[in-house]
Amino acid sequence: MLRFDYLEARNLRQAISLLQRHGEDARLVAGSTDFLVRWRQGFWRPSCVVNIKGISSLRRITYSARNGLNLGALATVQAIELDPRIRRYYEALATGATSFAGVQVRNLATVGGNVCNASPAGDTLPALLAFDAQCNIAGPEGARTLPLTEFFRGPGRTALSTGEVLTGLKLPPPQPRTGSLYIKHSPRGAMDIATVGVASVLTLEDDGRTCKDARIALGAVGPVPFRASAAEAVLKGKEVTADLLAEAANEARNQATPIDDVRGSADYRKEMVEALTNRTLQYAFRMARGERLSFEEQRRLAVQTAF
């Protein structure tokens, strides 16, 4: 079906009822940066499109040291990239956002859309996973929360049921002595999809040497983005050394289950998981020890490009 009805929801309740009414034939959109492309390609051919972009209450980004970060689902990727609090306390999320597509697309694309699109290569997803994001979901039965780790069910598939809308993401408050970085491997610096994406968040004990907590998430190397828990386990409670980081990186490689496609072979992707996990951990360690990397420096590290 090439034609579709276009509906705009004025508020959340209306969005939910429209989704309920049209069921599987409806598609929810906001920035529409994925939708229009996929529609033209013929992958998505809904009979009804519900746009929630106008629901301004879902656009907010709030932060407090006590409650952490709340991202409205309609917060744009650009807003996340530019937010000084995110740059300060959730560096990997800001670097994930800055490596996302290009400026024009970042201005339109929303974090909720990136999450609900559930691409294994979504650039904000590894950082959100590594920061233990919780999903706020509203639906016909009311509101519920779900850890992001349980949200992805396969490429393009999520835990949302008919009529449900992702309304926001909640990230716990930042821990002291924490550093984080996302690195995206893609030949082109803008408008490119990750061949591999790795986000690492490292928290040190008071001694500044021992790993208190480590969270590593991998993108584009499996059907969904996921936490490399075995690699995290290698680090926890141990004194951070170059050898330990290398061991964790190797463990992350073992957890990756990439495929061969036009962007790279499975073998190369595994190599990249190891190299980039090691590198993100090295920088996260330095940042956790108090080294301040400028955002420009983080961006240079985050986008692995040819030009």
């Binding site: 491997h185 803008a190 692995q304 040819a306």
Partner: protein
């Protein structure tokens, strides 16, 4: 440098306003009352017999006005050159996935698309061959079993899939290899490439009341499209008018007939105008890209670094049809060097893939990657500086070029010297960083060129040529006319044109517009100027030799205030004995004028990921004279960017079983973006050509040749690994760093032996 009034100064493009404000009209902007939209049904099989096509459901869909298949066209094969190997739309057999099988005209695009989905085609699969090396082997499935019966078939060596062989020989190459102190051989592979123009192929067609056919086309070659369209529709050429619209990039892909015949026939069937705009996916899957090329190269060198022999075998994958084959690559096996003994061969092999097209000097960029990487390898093995080794062997004035002509004066050595000075070569860089150079050569394009200039009563001049503007060529042609006639560029009106109106000319491609078309404009302007001078001499009562032409007037040299303006002369000419002032010129072939470009890249290689980052790119070209320096710089930068993409990221991927294009989109076929590139440094040297307008040389093509080799050489300098296959991706570099790519991975000895045996060169 000569004292120019207009040339060697940067002028904004004459069409800048329309382009920048979005008012320029492209073929897709043509809207006519009652216009229908056309969509194409593409083959889903690599090689198959068409058992049946059922269009009844599509025809019955409301809003559909006509459906055509290959059987609706005259049964006439056509070709890009002499060999006529294809029907305009599949007839009986499909040869690649993507080949047009049917087309629909409907009242709107969505209806046309829905109708396409209702056409039912039954196929019977035939054996497909996808790999060109396999295709060349005896016993391989034949792509065109009846090839020898095709009109224009002229190749006599056995081998069902060889459709063309170009060769060049000099001296005794086998003897020279035996005498050489060292012999080096390498094989290089370059990838499939898409031209990446922004405006997809588009056209509109309308049958006029008098039965003539008008085509609004996105084309570089309106006269070539007219001739080919007349051929496939079996109608007189004079019944067709081609209106070339603004061109949103072509790079060779729009030199020939594309899909204009579909809306043309649909318009003839329906009596309504019909428009076709390709999708980007169609641009990738059914409009001739460049295919992977294998280049084997062998060189005999003496201890002092003198090259005495060269053998080069090129295997071109031409896809399903010889759209644009090995053509220009062949002579470039020597590179910019004087080599006394050589044997050069270019084979075109059919495979079941989309047919090959032209792209900014087809084949030369692939060959330059091979030659200039090979030169670097030899220099390092001989322990010579790569730049010195090149300089020792460069072709010089008076040498005989590969095509047999004498090499005229040129700026080759100055370009190398400029690069050396700009970069401070030779230089040591930190580990992981490297610098590499490449020397590129090309020739200025010639071919039929015409121009006509009429002087208007207000002193302006109208310039009419049949050539389509590419990359600001209209502005350059206007500059040349203005320079000759002593008026400002703003006083030249560049007439819009069509094939009824303007005289025949060659296509806008092959680096020929400014060099050859520009020469015709210069001659036409001189003709007009001479007529102005003659008229002025008559009116002023002074000999013609006593007059000059500048500042919009003809004046007496010895008494400049005495004279007449061009407006006065043009007004007077209307009723003069000789009539209105019109200058004309028509020429065919200009002599060989080489173009040389030296280029250098600096890179940083990430040893952990293999990722290469280009940090600096410098090029220097001998442009002869810069007609419009701003436009020249734009051409040099644009070409380098295309070459950089080819070097690092662009890669058309084909399914190894079916030959289908795996990445038919700009999201997966990665061209460099403005955001990504380092600052490009462009230098020019100026050694005027003997025959070009005011000494200009061609500009457009060499800038794109150098990046693959320069960057590969820089990677070797940075981390000591040699990559012989494009693109120079992180994956390849990492594999090489880990020792997973061996030196002879690309060795094609067996295939070469087979080719040489077929030619009788070996037993």
């Amino acid at each position: 440098m000569a004292d120019f009034q207009v040339l060697e100064q940067s002028h904004p493009r004459v069409d800048a306003w329309e382009k920048v404000t979005g008012q320029a009209n492209y073929a897709g902007d043509v809207y006519l009352p009652g216009m229908l939209m056309c969509k194409i049904l593409a083959s889903t099989r690599s090689h198959a017999r068409i058992i049946s096509i059922d269009t009844s459901k599509a025809t019955a869909l409301p809003g559909v006005r006509a459906v055509i298949t290959g059987y609706d066209f005259p049964q006439i094969r056509f070709g890009s050159g002499a060999l006529k190997d294809r029907y305009i739309m599949a007839r009986d057999i499909v040869y690649y996935i993507g080949e047009p099988v049917a087309a629909v005209a409907a009242e709107d695009e969505i209806t046309a698309q829905e109708a396409i989905g209702l056409i039912e085609v039954e196929y019977e699969d035939l054996g497909a061959v996808v790999d060109p090396l396999t295709a060349l082997r005896s016993g391989a499935p034949s792509v065109h079993p009846d090839l020898e019966s095709y009109e224009g078939y002229g190749f006599t060596i056995e081998g069902g899939n060889i459709c063309t062989l170009l060769d060049a020989d000099r001296g005794d190459v086998d003897q020279a290899f035996m005498e050489a102190d060292h012999v080096f051989e390498d094989t290089f592979r370059s990838q499939g490439i898409n031209q990446g123009f922004l405006e997809p192929m588009a056209c509109a067609a309308n049958v006029e009341a008098n039965g003539r056919l008008t085509i609004w086309a996105s084309t570089q070659g309106p006269y070539q499209v007219r001739a080919q369209l007349a051929s496939v529709l079996d109608m007189p050429l004079s019944n067709i008018k081609i209106i070339p619209m603004e061109l949103g990039g072509g790079f060779g892909a729009k030199l020939r007939l594309a899909f204009e015949a579909f809306p043309a026939l649909l318009s003839m069937r329906t009596g309504s105008p019909v428009k076709l705009i390709n999708t980007r996916e169609e641009v990738f899957t059914l409009n001739g890209p460049r295919h992977p090329v294998t280049n084997y190269i062998k060189t005999g060198v003496n201890n002092d670094g003198t090259i005495i022999a060269r053998e080069a075998y090129t295997i071109f994958d031409v896809g399903a049809y010889l759209g644009a084959g090995p053509n220009s690559g062949i002579g470039h096996g020597l590179g910019a060097y004087n080599i006394p003994n050589f044997r050069l061969r270019s084979y075109g092999a059919y495979t079941n893939k989309v047919y090959v097209g032209s792209y900014r000097a087809s084949g030369v960029a692939d060959m330059t990657f091979a030659v200039e990487s090979h030169m670097d390898i030899i220099a390092h093995k001989l322990g010579m500086d790569p730049l010195d080794f090149r300089l020792k062997n460069t072709i010089k004035e008076g040498d005989i070029a590969v095509n047999g002509s004498r090499v005229p004066g040129n700026g080759l050595e100055q370009t190398l010297a400029a690069i050396k000075e700009r970069l401070g070569l030779p230089k040591e860089l930190p580990d992981g960083h490297g610098v590499g150079i490449a020397l590129c050569e090309w020739r200025s394009g010639t071919g039929p060129s015409t121009a006509s200039i009429s002087v208007n009563e207000d002193g302006t001049a109208s310039l009419l040529t049949g050539s389509v503007d590419i990359s600001g060529s209209d502005t350059s042609l206007a500059s040349i006319a203005a320079e000759v006639m002593g008026i400002s560029i703003g006083d030249i009106i560049v007439a819009s044109r069509d094939t009824d109106l303007a005289p025949f000319t060659g296509p806008s491609g092959g680096s020929r517009i400014v060099y050859s078309q520009g020469k015709a404009v210069q001659m036409a302007a001189e003709d007009a100027r001479d007529k102005l001078l003659a008229l002025a001499a008559d009116r002023l009562g002074v000999p013609q030799e006593a007059l000059g032409c500048a500042g919009g007037r003809v004046y007496v040299h010895d008494n400049p205030p005495q004279g007449l303006t061009l407006g006065q002369l043009a007004s007077a000419s209307v009723n003069s004995r000789t009539g209105p002032i019109v200058g004309n010129a028509s020429l065919s072939t200009l002599p060989y004028a080489p173009v040389f470009s030296a280029q250098a890249a600096e890179v940083e290689v990430d040893r952990a990921t293999g990722q290469v980052k280009l940090t600096r790119y410098v090029q220097c070209q001998d442009v002869g004279v810069a007609i419009n320096p701003m436009a020249v710089e734009g051409q040099l930068e644009g070409g380098a960017v295309q070459g950089i993409g080819r070097a690092l990221t662009e890669d058309m991927l084909f399914d190894q079983e079916t030959g289908a294009v795996r990445n038919p989109s700009f999201a997966s076929y990665l061209m460099p973006l403005a955001l990504d590139l380092p600052e490009l440094e462009t230098l020019m040297v100026r050694v005027p050509s003997e025959d070009g307008p005011f000494g200009a040389r061609a500009v457009a093509e060499p800038p794109g040749f150098g990046p693959p080799a320069a960057i590969a050489n820089a990677i070797y300098d940075a981390v000591g690994v040699r990559i012989r296959e494009l693109p120079l991706s992180g994956e390849r570099v990492l594999a090489a760093l880990q020792g997973k790519i061996s030196e002879d991975v690309a060795y094609i000895g067996d295939e070469l032996d087979e080719l040489k045996r077929a030619e009788g060169l070996v037993a």
